[in-house]
């Protein structure tokens, strides 16, 4: 099997690769979004704690 054949997927390349592409986007987004949110929340909570200690 050549690389071109692999990409072509017997003529179904556009269907197969668009499916895998969408899956990649959804799976990566579900890793990145919670990690970013974790960082943001930690920063905000730390700020809240500092303000609580000061008041």
């Amino acid at each position: 099997m050549t690389f071109a054949e692999f990409i072509d997927m017997g003529g179904y390349g556009s269907y197969v690769w668009s499916s895998y592409g969408i899956a990649l986007v959804v799976l990566v987004a579900n890793v990145v979004i919670p990690l970013l949110s974790a960082r943001k929340q930690k920063r905000e909570l730390l700020g809240k704690l500092k303000r609580m200690e000061n008041s």
Binding site: M9, G11, Y15, S19, A29, P34, A38, K42, L45, L46
Partner: protein
Amino acid sequence: MWQFFHKLASPKFFYDFSSRLIFWLAIVTIILMASGLYMGLVEAPPDYQQKDSYRIMFIHVPAAWMSMFVYMVMAITGAINLIWRIKLADIISMSCAPLGASFTFLALVTGSIWGKPMWGTWWVWDARLTSELILLFLYLGYMALRASIEDKTNASRAAAVLALVGVVNIPIIHYSVEWWNTLHQGPTVTKFDKPSIHTSMLIPLLLMAFAFKTYFVSVLLVRTRTELLVREFRSSWARKELSK
């Protein structure tokens, strides 16, 4: 073992334990997914009927299985929260919703892309497709309901009740291909006889299914840990964790 579960329900222990678990689950997910993709896309032969288009299955089927599995986790942890008022169960239930919605979305979209070349249409209003679409609406409804009630305890109880009522949809999805005439093909793996799928396709499918499962648990834990900190940030362990 019960002692371990009891300990796991304590927020501090859960927070420390899950940190290590996420690391190992991430590694397992990468290994499973890499081998599953290689075997599914490169090694497995084309299907005699569907040619190479069937390779969409390696995403579509695990995503569809997860869409139902995650719903059950969400409903059961919701019930645990309703009955025993375990905060951690509520946090897990809440963290399930966006992930389950993502898997359902993925199952619907990849199914649609698979349906176009095989059935000649992107969408039909048949039992399997419609009940899976209802599942997506249940997830979205769960999230909307939670967001619309300001009091966190009330929100968690209302959402748990909605999740439990929605469980009725799960057997409908599973048996839809048997109960009704549908374009969707019947089950080839989850039936009582021997699976009617060749080993060269079954193994990558199972690898991908396990990869999706470990992926789900690891991402679920990340969400759960964050929400745990938000709810517990006044306690001493959370303060220590935050000032690290």
